[in-house]
Symmetry: C2
Subunit: 193 residues, 2 copies
């Protein structure tokens, strides 16, 4: 039988650089596939349906919730976000490693359903750096940035529930660390059949 893939969940506060790290990681890691989230929020400039996200109308999203089609879902800043269960399960059972880039509450929801998932918390080099990164992101109004910063503080409370923490100071080093974590996790004795 094919060896089951590793489900890696990467979380961290807004502005920490999850997207940049995920992109670099996927480019440099063979057999790692990205789990595309579904959301009801509107696409930002450059985002493509079915690639960045599955952009769903709210009523369709709610139907999928009712049908238990989500591995996790949440309502954040008034929009729904979620991870569809089926594509993740298919990839893992096909021996692919899967990367989920989701918020901490979603990560913990998934861990409850998949205890074998690996939770990685991406940390900013400092709180100042996080503020500066969020401010540079021109796409959002100031009030939203404030909301994100206060939410980031709440997210840090979940850090201890995560398996690993990686400081995002240099993307190439973060990539090497996350790759090492996946290699190491494949060697864990409790995963032996």
């Amino acid at each position: 039988m094919m060896e089951q893939g590793i489900l890696t969940i990467m979380s961290g506060p807004s502005g920490v650089g999850k997207g940049t790290v995920a992109k670099a990681l996927l480019e440099k890691t063979k057999d790692l596939v990205y789990s595309i989230s579904a959301t009801t929020r509107l696409p930002r400039e450059g985002e493509v349906n079915g690639s960045s996200y599955y952009f769903l109308p709210a009523d369709e999203f709610r139907k999928k919730i009712d049908r238990q089609e989500f591995l996790e879902w949440a309502q954040i800043y008034g929009n729904f976000y979620g991870t569809l269960r089926l594509p993740v399960e298919c990839a893992l059972s096909g021996g692919k490693d899967v990367l989920l880039e989701i918020d901490v509450q979603g990560g913990i929801q998934v861990k409850q359903k998949f205890p074998q998932a690996v939770l990685i918390f991406l940390l900013p080099p400092s709180q100042d750096e996080l503020e500066s990164r969020l401010t540079k992101r021109a796409s959002e109004p100031k009030a939203d940035i404030k909301k994100r910063l206060s939410w980031a503080e709440e997210e840090f409370e979940y850090l201890k529930l995560y398996d690993y923490a990686v400081v995002n100071d240099r993307v190439d080093e973060v990539v090497l660390k996350v790759q090492s974590i996946i290699v190491a996790e494949k060697c864990r004795t409790w995963r032996l059949k």
Copy 2:
């Protein structure tokens, strides 16, 4: 304050290739130091005191046991083997990673004293391969080989107490996996202060 090093313990049955892996690992891993064991057994050809082992007379070894100077010790095939506590603690507190290559019972003794130690079990590709490797080792009489093989079976019972298992099929791959395990362990949230 300097970050504490990681104590990695590599165990596995006689003939699995622990020595070869340890040598390659030390050559290729910056800041990893080898913990030299003490023993009362006689040096094999080419072994140097203070480099391969600290070769100690039995009475001196016993005195050090009484003074609690060992992190672990055991009597195997009529000889004493042990790991002196002080050099390991000094290296770790100086930020060095330390590699201990010891038998499974020793590994578990150390884990009890250092729960933060990382236990890696080196597995042979197969039981046949293990027998063939032991038989090729010309330095030992046949009766000893038999004793080692039956002991190997007992050792496998301890596998589930180990954190990681790595199959020693190709040394360079084992080195990469053990290096990954050390990198990953440094990112574990429970190690954060």
